[in-house]
């Protein structure tokens, strides 16, 4: 019997099963998660071999893919319930950090945050101050500079700020250090973890970078989640 979800659970997954449609020639990729739990303000590193379904897992959590069965709850809201607007929930409860940052080109650092805030539940009157203060906390002192004019390290900070600006319950980081050299990777990871703690957001990092393993108290292998659940 699966353990009960915590009241402060940022992410709760039960009996999840997903398979891509078969084209009839080969066995389709399948992903099953028996049980996965991540409390608010906690963190977890999810590792797995390349092609093992890490990105599929993230897309399921983001509601961008729909499972054949099982439940995914974000901040205790069932992501795939009929009454749930997945786009709104994603904007309000999730933050994303991508391997290649995926900042909006032609937009300033602050505008990248403001675009994220457009889809949040925060009052509009708070947007500007929230964006400025978060960028300042992450060391971006020229918020109106276009992102393409920033260094790689600065772009990474803007990406972290954008993930946190909407006060999400959960930040999903997909290979967040893959584009950085080891020194910058370490700095970026520390910044991400620190600010998630400050903001009270859970952090789920998906990576196959072994250097990240020592940084996390909780490390899960994707393959092991298929049979035995984890909750902390």
């Amino acid at each position: 019997m699966a353990p009960a979800a915590s009241a402060q659970s940022a992410l709760s997954i039960r009996d999840l099963a997903f398979a891509y449609p078969s084209d009839g020639r080969e066995v389709p990729f399948q992903l099953t998660i028996k049980h996965f739990e991540l409390a608010r303000a906690s963190e977890c590193l999810l590792v797995g071999r390349s092609g093992g379904g890490k990105s599929t897992f993230l897309q399921l959590v983001a509601g961008l893919l729909e499972p054949q069965q099982g439940t995914v709850k974000l901040d205790d809201i069932d992501l795939f319930a009929r009454s749930t607007n997945r786009d709104l929930l994603r904007g309000a409860k999730l933050g994303f950090v991508f391997q290649t940052f995926n900042l909006l080109q032609g937009f300033s650092a602050l505008e990248n945050l403001m675009v994220a805030l457009m889809f949040s539940t925060l009052p509009k009157s708070e947007w500007h101050a929230r964006g400025i203060s978060l960028l300042a906390a992450l060391g971006i002192d020229k918020p109106n500079t276009r992102v393409e004019e920033l260094s790689v390290g600065q772009q990474q900070r803007v990406a972290i700020a954008r993930a946190l600006v909407c006060k999400p319950a959960l930040v999903l980081a997909d290979e967040p250090t893959a584009s950085l050299d080891p020194e910058n990777a370490k700095i970026a990871m520390e910044l991400l973890r620190e600010h998630c703690r400050v903001e009270g957001a859970a952090l789920l990092v998906v990576s196959h970078d072994p250097s990240l393993v020592p940084l996390f108290a909780r490390v899960e292998k994707l393959q092991s989640l298929a049979t035995a659940g984890g909750a902390r």
């Binding site: 891509y20 990729f29 390349s50 092609g51 093992g52 379904g53 890490k54 990105s55 599929t56 897992f57 897309q59 983001a62 961008l64 893919l65 607007n85 786009d87 709104l88 994603r90 904007g91 309000a92 994303f96 991508f98 391997q99 995926n102 900042l103 909006l104 080109q105 032609g106 937009f107 505008e111 403001m114 675009v115 994220a116 805030l117 457009m118 889809f119 949040s120 947007w127 954008r162 997909d174």
Partner: protein, 428 residues
């Protein structure tokens, strides 16, 4: 930050493509507006020449030819009216005015209108805008000439200058260089006594002399043929010398009105006389414009086709840019934008290009018309007041925006169907 800010930023990122496609829309919308503006303005410019005459009588072959010859100086009339006929018509009604005219001579290609002083005092080239001299006076005797504004500017003639007229419309030059065409009335020199203010009508390109002066010139030619010598005076004129090629007629009207209730009845009465041609200038100009309306329609159709092709350009430009934009759309989706919202953003982008283009088109049209009308006024003396119909501008702009939005449907559907997982990272 709003969806519209995202639209504007996206357009800025693709600035070159945005400008090129907006310019295409501007060109076609501007062309369409220019044609629409000039259509009514061209007619108005023609109507300026007919002035306050209700009827034109001549011996031309048709009423339209009578108007084109008598008021627009297209060609010298084919045949004159006899003095007996002129007298008969004069007695027919209590005319407000009856101005006799004679065409047939020219000066350096500019037509010479021989007429009576009433041409200046009664006939108005444009209703409500009587003749006014810019310098000098109207003629009050023989061998005096008054110049239209465009004629004075183009010939360079000044007050007091002397000139001789040519029989026919050949481009002869008295005492100047170049070949002479047609018979030059060298025996009688005319003096410039007045230069008229511009009227914006074809009359600006004419020279005006008294009827008697013209009769004397032609009586001299007759007498030469008869072997008689010496200068001719008014006393030497025979009844047959007093030729008139046209008559401008106006019926009495109520004060402040240009319309006479008796016009149709008088017109019908005069038309029964098969030896003359009677025309209502305003009606003939309407008929002329009905004839050219088909050509007008072709131009408008061409402009609309151009507008459609600019919409296709928007479609191609946006579809081409979708390859780069899918990543941006995927990011927006991940941040919380719904499929319908990104659809709306892309559609709005196309509409904004259409809007920018049509606003630029209106400006292009206004500037082009201003330059063109200034040039026409300066070079041809033709006053064209473009009819900037705000309603037409709004309709053209709305049409351009709607067409652009329609062109944006395909890229908007592409945006709607963009796979977030494919764009942000290959499937794991």
């Amino acid at each position: 930050m709003t969806d519209f800010t995202i639209v504007l930023r996206s357009l800025r990122v693709r600035l070159f493509s945005t400008i090129v496609t907006a310019l295409l829309v501007a060109t076609s919308a501007g062309l369409l507006l220019t044609i629409l503006s000039l259509r009514s303005a061209g007619k108005a410019a023609f109507e300026r020449g007919s002035g306050n005459a209700h009827l034109l009588v001549s011996a031309d072959q048709s009423p339209l030819v009578a108007v084109l010859n008598g008021l627009f100086y297209a060609n010298p009339p084919r045949a004159p009216l006899s003095q007996a006929k002129v007298s008969e018509i004069r007695r027919l009604f209590p005319w407000d005015f009856m101005v006799e005219t004679q065409l047939g001579d020219s000066y350096r290609g500019f037509p010479v209108l021989a007429t009576t002083p009433e041409f200046f005092t009664k006939f108005e080239p444009v209703v409500g805008e009587p003749w006014a001299p810019a310098s000098g006076k109207f003629f009050d005797g023989n061998m005096q000439v008054v110049l239209g504004a465009a004629c004075a500017r183009e010939t360079g003639l000044r007050m007091g200058a002397k000139l001789v007229l040519t029989h026919g419309s050949g481009a002869s030059r008295e005492g100047g260089e170049g070949e002479e065409h047609g018979h030059v009335h060298r025996e009688y020199e005319f003096e410039v006594v007045g230069i008229l203010k511009p009227t914006g009508s074809p009359h600006d390109r004419a020279l005006f002399v008294s009827l008697e002066s013209s009769w004397i010139l032609h009586a001299h030619d007759r007498r030469e043929r008869e072997g008689l010598e010496g200068k001719v005076t008014a006393a030497d004129l025979l009844e047959d010398d007093r030729k008139v090629t046209g008559m401008l007629l106006r019926l009495p009207t109520r004060s402040g009105s240009n319309v006479s209730s008796a016009l149709q009845q008088v017109f019908d009465t005069l038309r029964r006389d098969t030896s003359i041609t009677v025309a209502q200038p305003a009606d003939q100009i309407d008929k002329l414009f009905n004839i050219v309306a088909n050509v007008d329609g072709i131009f408008i159709a061409l402009a609309i086709v151009t507008l459609f092709s600019s919409a296709v350009a928007i479609l191609l430009s946006m579809v081409n840019s979708m390859a780069q934009r899918r990543r941006q759309i995927a990011v927006l989706r991940v941040l919380g934008a719904s499929q319908s919202r990104v659809f709306g953003i892309v559609l709005t982008e196309a509409a904004v290009i259409g809007l920018l283009g049509s606003v630029a088109g209106i400006l292009v049209s206004v500037i082009a018309l201003t330059i063109a009308t200034a040039w026409l006024r300066e070079s041809l003396g033709l006053i064209i007041a473009p009819d900037f119909d705000p309603r037409a501008s709004v309709i053209v702009a709305a049409g351009a925006v709607a067409l652009s939005a329609l062109a944006g449907l395909v890229p908007a559907v592409m945006a709607y169907r963009t796979s977030v997982s494919t764009q942000l990272r290959p499937l794991g």
